[in-house]
């Protein structure tokens, strides 16, 4: 369930005017920006941008970029974009890092629906004049590259059907591939990147039933092994995305200081999806609410925006 709190009646014209007022003149009224944008869903935000462009002949996003700064600016920028465009930006940022953030690519390709992933690929092309898969291929190598390219290229069947025979045989294949650390990467990649999500969950369950332990536990190991790390992230995202995101949040908050990138990314991308459920998981796991943890570890306008997206009342 989503966490953002959207009012019943919304006037995008009034919103555009309010944002204009917040940006004109000396300084910027960040609270006003948060109080408008932090309470609008993706469709409304898009309409506001169009209205703003109509009224003032300038791109709202460019205006915000020039007025704001730091983590707050990054968060606002990501929040205001269309979800598909946002994912394209996140993917590009992850790819272009000196040491690419493979797990971000995994997140985007494995936790979005097949149609959403197609939209991301389109948005990526429009922005960067390359296909997502060619950029991933150009910036990664070895088995990690094979896995990531396959994941971003997948267009999984979206249905509920499960073939138990296949679940059985592929659980076996995965087990063979995983035990003794003799990874048959080809088969693992094939199964993980082509099967429907329902089918995969059946396979993972079968694995757990047959071997008394989850496949991710069997993959624990050398944290220096990039392929293994990426593989674990893949299976976690496919099997239980909410649990995966809870862990990302937990790790990002615990670090010395906070990994703002991860924190922003998860909150911004899940606020309209399942952040409520993730919050519940977080509380169960950490005995403190996510709101409290975020409030303790962040500050200023950045904090105010995050808390608004988390559903805090103004």
């Amino acid at each position: 369930m989503a966490t953002i709190d959207v009012p019943e009646q919304v006037s995008v014209l009034a919103d555009a005017e309010a944002l204009r007022k917040a940006c004109k003149g000396w300084g910027t009224d960040e609270k006003a920006i948060i109080s408008v944008l932090g309470h609008r869903n993706a469709v409304q935000r898009k309409q506001i941008r169009l209205a703003y462009e109509d009224l003032y002949q300038e791109d709202l996003i460019k205006r915000l970029e020039s007025e704001l700064s730091g983590d707050f600016e990054k968060a606002v920028y990501r929040w205001v974009l269309d979800p598909a465009d946002r994912d394209a930006v996140l993917a590009n940022v992850a790819i272009k890092k000196l040491s690419p953030d493979h797990h971000v690519i995994v997140e985007i390709s494995c936790t979005r629906s097949p149609e959403e992933l197609l939209a991301v690929r389109r948005a990526y092309q429009a922005r960067y004049k390359h296909s997502l898969e060619e950029d991933v291929a150009a910036h990664t190598k070895g088995d990690t590259r094979k896995l990531l390219v396959s994941l971003v290229s997948a267009f999984r069947y979206d249905g509920e059907e499960i073939n138990t025979r296949v679940a059985n045989s592929e659980a076996k294949i995965l087990h063979e591939a995983v035990k003794d650390k003799e990874f048959n990467h080809e088969e693992i990649i094939r199964i993980l990147s082509t099967r429907s999500k329902m089918q995969l969950m059946a396979t993972f369950n079968r694995y757990r039933d047959d071997h008394g332990t989850t496949i991710t536990k069997n993959l624990e190991g050398d944290s220096g092994d990039e392929f293994l790390k990426t593989l674990r992230a893949t299976i976690r995202c496919l099997n239980d995305p909410k649990k995966y995101f809870e862990k990302v949040l937990r790790n990002s908050i615990r670090r010395v200081g906070t990994d703002e990138d991860a924190l922003t990314r998860v909150i911004v991308t899940r606020a309209e999806k399942d952040l409520k459920d993730i919050k519940e998981l977080y509380y169960k796991r950490n005995s403190v609410s996510l709101d409290q943890a975020v409030a303790k570890d962040t500050s200023g306008d950045y904090k105010a925006l995050l808390l608004t997206l988390l559903g805090k009342e103004d």
Binding site: S131, A154, R190, T194
Partner: protein
């Protein structure tokens, strides 16, 4: 807009009673895609609205056609089906029939636009309740990796090629072909990545650099390499590929499969064929009856946009 009389003629054609072939041919070959869409939408007996955004053929109607028309049927069905469904069915059939037919998979994956290929993938979900990639799992041979990569592509279609990268990737392919084990080409990760992810513009630039740098074309160097050669041709020089397929189809000793290729290529490529000037004379000489009328009319109408 499709006239009610057209739709009625269509319904009648497939009702099993008898058919006015001439008007059927005329309707089909004179229809552009927009007209066909409204034909399909109007024929509720024959087509159903699919949730993935196209009009899907009703299974039981196909059986009726089988009785009536045979080869003409192939041409009619291929021509009438929504391109997405048509391509999805072509791929599914090719997977089922085995290695000699994999070139059809390459053909569809590499000669359609990025959005058409996406559409075919969606239609495949609707028709077969699996993704193409999943069904390709059934292929045990070494072609599988390449085929999966090709059908999964969503290539950038804009202009703008980095010539340096194209040149260096031409070198990668050259080395893969000439220095490595030719038998292992289908396993060469970099080669597959290049062929499966780069835009067609980029690959065409790569093709030029290859010829300039090495004195022979990439296709020549892949002579005998089956679907690898087909892949390169379909992406870089499609008219060469289609001409080859058509010539094989009209040879005297052509087998059944090759003959079917004639229908497939003419129906799916008719606009391009008109431009390339494929000679209808060959067809006139060897084909017969309704089938001939239909193909000739298709080519003739290829200039109608």
């Amino acid at each position: 807009m499709a006239l009610p009389v057209d739709i009625e003629a269509l319904d009648k054609a497939f009702s099993g009673i008898g058919v006015d072939e001439k008007s059927l041919i005329s309707i089909l070959t004179n229809s552009n895609e927009e007209h066909k869409i409204s034909l399909r939408k109007g024929s509720s007996k024959l087509f159903i609205e699919d949730e993935n955004g196209f009009e899907r053929w009703d299974q039981s109607s196909i059986k009726i056609l089988k009785h009536q028309f045979n080869r003409f049927r192939d041409a009619v069905v291929l021509s009438l089906l929504h391109p997405w469904e048509r391509d999805a069915r072509l791929i599914e059939k090719a997977i089922r029939k085995g290695p000699k037919h994999y070139n059809v998979i390459v053909e569809v994956a590499c000669t359609r636009s990025s959005d058409q290929l996406l559409g075919a993938r969606k239609a495949y979900h609707s028709l077969f309740h699996h993704s193409i990639e999943e069904h390709l799992t059934h292929i045990k041979g070494r072609e599988r990796k390449l085929l999966v990569a090709l059908v999964s592509a969503y290539r950038y279609e804009g202009t703008g090629v980095n010539e340096d990268v194209a040149k260096s990737e031409a070198q990668i392919l050259y080395e893969a072909i000439n220095n490595g084990d030719k038998n292992k080409l289908l396993d060469h990760e970099d080669a597959i990545m290049i062929l499966a992810t780069r835009s067609k513009q980029h690959l065409q630039a790569l093709y030029r650099h290859y010829s300039q740098s090495y004195g022979k074309t990439l296709a020549q160097d892949l002579e005998g390499e089956g679907i690898l050669k087909d892949t390169v041709e379909c992406l870089c020089t499609p008219q060469t590929y289609f001409t080859r397929v058509l010539e094989a189809a009209v040879k005297e000793d052509a087998d059944e499969e090759s003959k079917r290729a004639l229908t497939r290529v003419i129906v799916t490529q008719k606009e391009q064929l008109v431009q390339e000037g494929f000679v209808p004379n060959k067809i006139q000489d060897i084909l017969l009856g309704l089938y001939k009328d239909f193909l000739l009319a298709s080519i003739a109408s290829g200039d109608i946009k």
